[in-house]
Subunit: 333 residues, 2 copies
DNA sequence: AAAATAATTGCAACCGGTTGCAAAAGACTT
DNA sequence: AAGTCTTTTGCAACCGGTTGCAATTATTTT
């Protein structure tokens, strides 16, 4: 039913090439011709078929937006920002939800079938194998919220998790806590490992402070809550660095359930600064991950890649900042 | 760089049709032929170009997933479920983020350019004009979380907001509250209007109960909080039906900030049963919207539409249920 | 073993566009 | 007004597939 190039050409009494050219910018068409074609096109309600043209041009303007984080509320914001930014650049997000069962090979196949122009992997928990698989299949890749390294195999945009671990440690030290815990996300996630690493490294300078660590099973409310309940049952630390905000909020809940107060009995600092952290009935002190910048930078990098696919992979690291709210005791002066 | 049909045909020493048929199920190919082709294809790492084939078959297996709800956490779950369900059916979600500026015409154009096979509109706040615009452009449409009517113009899957308003009212009446408020979402949203309508209708049977209503500016934490702060400043009701969960949580926060207790001083019942409602430090009594079923049913309907585009538009209404938690006083016996 | 029937294969046209190239049309010189 | 240089236009081939049709091959029937 939709009108085609040919319909317009016939109606305007011109060649198909002429019509094609009026809808291709940079092509050689006289003003007279253009007007004539546009008139006919408008009368027919024609709009060019992007898929057909992709056949010859080799560009679909489709970008695979790949993620496995469909349970962490901050990713709603991430998707919001990514989709808007892509739309503004006249690109379309083809959303791919990586479940535990999906293997890299099949997602590669899928994205190749739709000849996406590039792939944005948005995940802090996905093993690097995925991004590499996409790259090996010849697609431009940007891994947002990934683990930046000094010799990246694909473009990575994210934060320095080691540094953010140090930052958390410094903050807790400055508050005068003498017994500190790291309540991490899943032990296998590289982000968890890096944060722990930085955290311990910083605390190594303070032999007087007691340090311990443990891991929740996931970056989730329930996992954080369960792990905190376990910790509370047996000699808890004075303050914890929670793996991320949602996990920390779970921990806060556990503390409340045991009728302990925050920050009176136990302090907590999270990571992400998700919207909820600012809610007055949560009011979580946390380390802000600059989502906005990470997204913007990833998009920018993707745009560059589309122009020059051979661009060398690059790591872009953004600084985090402490957001002071109400879950740590005040600074000692 | 990617291999084409022709490459495989040459390598296998057969015609291009033969290769095409091997990858089209239901086509006539001998086993011998198929094995030969598959071998060559595997050696070359070939996978068919879905876009090219869409040209002749007229099906892209692309489904537009259109929403403007990128701020309500329940929609992360909605997207999760939709994308998974689509993937299982071998369909691909093309995500469209409707911002306040986007008009129906341009989204229609966009979806037409990519010849999507169908459009799922996932939104409780989008005016019906959007879905109609898609339908008028000849695309199969399902509006999930829309407002079911008795003479739908497109397929609509959702809940009966009037009935859920009644349900909230009945619940509050049964708890013996004598002074009840409706704290709605944006006044213009049809869902708000319907819920209020049902709410008032049910309470009309109880002249002894005092009833008032007001509206928050959005379905958001901050809007709910602000409106509740306003209400608390001047003679609040004993219990409120909050427009949705996130708004209700904002209201809870406001109540806490004024050092009042829930359900001691004020009761709250929400709507949606988002994940957070079950968090122990929130523990919101609410009306559950059966997201899972709404999504599944929408997908099912879409699948039917793909088979038979002329299917008559249908409204599917799902029942809600009360989820008892801790923000209402106990039932009077 | 020949005839009848069924299954498989290749040819060629087509899907809706793009684009290199040569012919046609305009603009500019002199 | 004829000749030269640009710009515009249409032709035709191509992008990576699909599919109706006729020719070929395999299978079944008698």
């Amino acid at each position: 039913m939709p009108k085609t190039l040919k319909d317009v050409a016939i109606r305007a009494g011109v060649s198909r090439s002429a019509v094609s050219r009026t809808f291709t910018d940079g092509a050689s068409v006289s003003d007279k011709m253009r007007r004539r074609v546009l008139k006919a096109a408008a009368e027919l309600g024609y709009s060019p078929n992007a898929l057909a043209s992709s056949l010859t041009t080799g560009r679909t303007k489709l970008i695979g937006l790949v993620s496995n984080n469909f349970h962490n509320p901050i990713f709603l914001e991430v998707f919001d920002r990514f989709t808007r930014a892509l739309q503004e650049k006249d690109l379309r997000p083809l959303l791919v939800n990586l479940t535990d069962e999906t293997d890299p090979a099949s997602s590669v196949r899928m994205l190749r079938q739709y000849s996406v122009d590039g792939v944005i992997v948005a995940s802090s928990t996905l093993p690097p194998g995925f991004s590499k698989a996409f790259r090996d299949a010849g697609m431009p890749v940007v891994h947002a919220f990934g683990r930046p390294t000094s010799s990246p195999e694909v473009h990575v945009v994210g934060i320095d998790n080691i540094e953010s671990g140090r930052m958390a440690a410094r903050t807790l030290i400055a508050r005068g806590y003498g017994d500190i815990g790291f309540l991490g996300g899943p032990e296998t996630a590289t982000s968890t490992q890096d944060r722990l690493h930085g955290f311990l490294a910083e605390l190594a300078n303070c032999p007087a402070i007691r340090v311990r660590h443990s891991f929740a099973e996931a970056y989730s409310f329930e996992a954080g809550r369960r792990e905190m309940l376990r910790l509370l049952a047996d000699d808890p630390a004075q303050a914890y660095f929670g793996g991320d905000d949602v996990l920390s909020i779970g921990a806060l809940s556990a503390i409340g359930e045991r009728n302990l107060t925050v920050p009176g009995d136990i302090g907590i600092i999270g990571l992400n600064d998700m919207e909820m952290a600012a809610w007055q009935n949560i009011n979580l002190t946390t380390i802000r991950q600059p989502i906005r910048h990470i997204v913007a930078s990833s998009i920018e990098l993707m745009a560059e890649m589309l122009k020059d696919p051979d661009r060398l992979p690059e790591s872009r690291i953004f600084a985090c900042e402490i957001v002071e709210r109400g879950t740590l005791r005040p600074l000692k002066v």
